[in-house]
């Protein structure tokens, strides 16, 4: 507990330093307008990061979540368009359910065949992406066809303000959804036995088995929850950008995994916190955002994020080794 807490403090300190530095370079950073838009960019990647955190805590690495997000989003929106349904709650549940069902497939393969999660999710991710494109379609559902209520939901704000120029801007209503999910996951991970079983299994699968944890249940919990979060993140994305693109989220694995590692989770499992991950996501989004403000090309952004991933992994590895002495 103490170690985790101190780890979160370090990340928070890094975040504050980074914010001060970025604010000095670009004073516009501190404008509410910019901060609100930053927070908005946290939502989808943040929910995905929660999914990845969960898998990483259990000692695995998930790269299928982008495909599951696409499946949840595209299947739901296409069906809505095809049958002419409009609404919010049902589509959200549908996308979440699709993600959860796909997550169950991951869980069963990992558990029954005792395969390495990275390979399993690499495979299921590719299969799901391929099936969506091959069986459902490759065309983008654009704003003109997107269900109205879904767009309205994605546009809704919890706070609206007007800046000096007279244009209005707001804080997205998706943010409380993300933070609410984070809070629930935090409570589940720290206060319940199923949550602790994830840490235990990640720390030592063999010991978890011997102590009598129901390993199958733990893995189902991990991958179904991760899949559900991915599916939900997918449909929220389409609601927020007003289109459903079956080729969306390509390359997001890098950003999301980097954010989780930046948040202090160990790729070896058993170590990491929701708070750290939320902070890690914010740092990553903020740095990418400042690179855009500085006019740096997207290709170079990937270089920066890749470098951050390696640096953060090296730092956490050093920390873990130190703890072992």
């Amino acid at each position: 507990m103490r170690l985790a807490a101190s780890s979160d403090m370090v990340i928070a300190a890094i975040l504050i330093v980074a914010m001060v530095v970025i604010g000095l370079i670009n004073p516009a950073f501190w404008s509410l307008d910019n901060l609100f838009s930053l927070l908005k960019s946290n939502v989808v990647i943040g929910i995905m990061a929660l999914a990845v955190l969960l898998v990483m805590l259990s000692g695995g690495i998930d790269v299928s979540f982008t495909a599951f997000a696409v499946a949840g989003m595209y299947l739901t929106v296409r069906t809505m368009v095809d049958i002419g349904y409009d609404g919010v709650v049902l589509p959200l549940l549908a996308a979440t359910g699709i993600g959860a069902a796909l997550g169950l497939v991951n869980a069963l393969i990992v558990h029954k065949l005792r395969m390495i999660p990275l390979i399993v999710t690499l495979g299921t991710g590719a299969v799901v992406r391929g099936l969506v494109l091959g069986l459902v379609g490759t065309s983008i559902v654009n704003i003109n066809k997107m269900p109205r209520e879904l767009i309205a939901f994605g546009r809704s704000d919890i706070l609206t303000m007007t800046n000096a120029g007279g244009t209005t801007f707001g804080l997205t209503a998706m943010l409380p959804i993300y933070l609410g999910l984070a809070l629930v996951l935090h409570l589940v991970l720290t206060r319940t036995l199923i949550g602790r079983s994830v840490y235990a299994y990640g720390a030592s699968p063999e010991a978890a088995k011997r102590v009598g944890f129901p390993i199958g249940r733990t893995l189902v919990f991990v991958y179904v929850t991760a899949g559900a979060l991915a599916g939900l993140a997918g449909i929220l994305q389409s609601a927020m950008i007003w289109q459903a693109n079956p080729r969306d989220f390509l390359g997001w694995e890098l950003d999301v995994i980097a954010a989780v590692v930046l948040g202090g989770a160990s790729i070896f499992g058993g170590r990491g916190t929701v708070l750290g991950t939320v902070l890690g996501v914010f740092i990553l989004v903020m740095i990418k955002n400042s690179l855009i403000l500085m006019g740096i090309e997207t290709t170079w952004q990937r270089v920066v994020v890749g470098g951050m991933l390696i640096a953060a992994t090296a730092l956490t590895a050093l920390r873990d080794r130190k703890a072992l002495v």
């Binding site: 206060r191 319940t192 030592s204 011997r210 072992l324």
Partner: protein
């Protein structure tokens, strides 16, 4: 009173192999019972039968005098049986408190965890055991002895009536063993039975009240500990008499094989003067931290900053790297052969030639024919029990693995052999054979052997001289009639 647990006529087969053949075992409430046997005697199998991991093919299990059908792990735990495996099965990234309470929470079928209560329970158990441990430290930061205490505390909190400890003293120092014994007696005082699974004679005689001995899947002896002495236990375990012979070395004239002159590694060892003649086996006693391992590392080229001189066969040697040390004919068998000395998944041959690859190079390619021939010679000389030189080292017993490590060094043409804990985790029969091999190497091939060990009988039986180290310095030497276990033990205890 009915026995706590009684196994009757248990037979367990794996494929064509009979791991347990009609064995019985009886443990009374609150007794300290020792289960002895060499590797492969069926000790681990019977533990897994008791803990419900294996279902026996025949036989019955009675708990409190009532026959229970097949046990499963949760069922076994519900009956108050807790196993502490050699690796302790703890969660390294979680705290001491959580590791202690998780078991009980699971056992009680709880869904939520109340941290305040958890912490309180953990502290309570630790206090009951009379140990000081920070409940909020993560387990990975603890030394082995601390982890063991966490494992014991966990078992106690889960209402254990029988705690099975698998080789509990393997990685402990003498003082830590004493502390463990104190805790075990305390458990007994609280009515908890303890089944010690061990192959260490001294411990069995010191701690246990009753003893059961297994050999080749059969029970060969059972009774109160007062009916046994060391030779009797050894005979039961191995099926033969092992007469320990002292190593006699006939002094020779001439050049010392290895001579250290004022060898110093700042912060570790100071002013070591020591000469080893060909054929000598010199023991090094001393507590962990006395500089004994550092001395070995300095000789093996791993302390390049050393001062003083190292002479080999009358010539000064410069041992700045491991490669130089090997070229000079120095061989080192580390304490932890599993992590430092062997490539477990690889074959005996791959492991054997790993120390002398350059010697088998022919135009950049490996000379397989010669490597195979040499490996086979070594395989025979070391009497390794394996189907052949292609067998993976991970499939060998501890004693045979150790032979591969020692044998590898012979293939490098070693003149000086440094052994650090040569028979840790090796069973009695294998131990005697390894000792005989070491004697043969010293006597017949003229190697000088430096043997570092915690095992006093091992030092006394195998060395013609034992030097004592303390705080990085040589502080004494025993040889001839003065070399007795008690004398070496006194030197060790001198500083407690």
């Amino acid at each position: 009173m009915a026995p706590l647990i009684e196994l009757r006529g248990i037979t367990k087969r794996f494929g064509g192999v009979t791991a347990l053949d009609d064995v019985s075992l009886r443990i009374e409430p609150g007794e300290i019972h020792c289960l002895a046997g060499e590797n492969g005697s069926g000790k681990s199998t019977i533990i897994k039968v008791i803990s419900g991991v294996y279902t026996p093919d025949q036989g019955e299990i009675l708990i409190d005098g009532t026959a229970v059908g097949a046990l499963s792990p949760p069922l076994s735990i519900a009956h108050g049986i807790q196993v502490i495996y050699q690796d302790f099965s703890l969660f390294p990234t979680l705290t001491v408190a959580e590791n202690i309470v998780l078991n009980s929470l699971l056992k009680d079928g709880r869904r939520a965890i109340n941290w305040r209560v958890a912490r309180r329970d953990a502290i309570e158990v630790l206090e009951r055991l009379g140990v000081q441990l920070d409940p909020s430290a993560t387990v990975e930061t603890l030394p082995t002895s601390g982890r063991q205490i966490v494992a014991i505390a966990r078992a106690v909190l889960a209402d254990a009536r029988l705690i099975i400890m698998d080789e509990p003293t393997t990685a402990l120092t003498g003082k830590e063993v004493d502390n463990l014994f104190r805790i075990v007696r305390d458990l007994q005082y609280h009515g908890i039975a303890v089944l010690f699974v061990s192959h260490k004679m001294r411990e069995m005689l010191e701690i246990s009240e009753r003893l059961t001995v297994f050999r080749n899947g059969r029970k060969v002896a059972e009774g109160p500990i007062s009916e046994f002495d060391e030779p009797a236990i050894t005979r039961a375990m191995t099926g033969r008499d092992l007469t320990a012979r002292r190593y006699d070395w006939v002094p020779t004239r001439g050049m010392p094989r290895l001579e250290l002159r004022s060898l110093t590694v700042p912060g570790e060892i100071y002013d070591i003067n020591l000469a080893l003649m060909p054929g000598e086996v010199v023991g090094v006693s001393g507590l962990i931290g006395s500089g004994r391992t550092e001395l070995a590392l300095a000789l093996f080229g791993m302390r390049p900053g050393y001062r003083g001189e190292i002479w080999l066969d009358g010539k000064p040697a410069h041992l700045q790297t491991v490669q130089q040390a090997i070229t000079e004919g120095i061989a080192y068998v580390p304490e932890d052969r599993l992590s430092e000395g062997l490539f477990l998944p690889r074959s005996i041959q791959d492991n054997a030639i790993a120390g002398s690859i350059p010697g088998y190079s022919r135009g950049g390619l490996l000379d397989f024919r010669r490597a195979r021939a040499d490996t086979l010679d070594m395989f025979k000389a070391m009497q390794i029990a394996a189907p052949g030189t292609d067998a993976a080292v991970s499939t060998l017993s501890g004693g045979n693995q150790q032979r591969v490590v020692i044998g590898r060094w012979l293939m490098t043409g070693a003149r000086v052999l440094i052994l650090n804990g040569p028979t840790v985790g090796v069973d009695v029969g294998s131990k005697a054979q390894i000792h005989a091999i070491i004697h043969g190497l010293a006597r017949d091939k003229g190697l000088a052997v430096l043997m570092i060990s915690d095992d006093l009988p091992e030092l006394v039986q195998n060395c013609n001289r034992v030097v004592h180290m303390q705080q990085g310095r040589l502080t004494g030497e025993l040889s001839g009639d003065a070399l007795t276990e008690d004398a070496v033990g006194d030197k060790l205890r001198f500083r407690g």
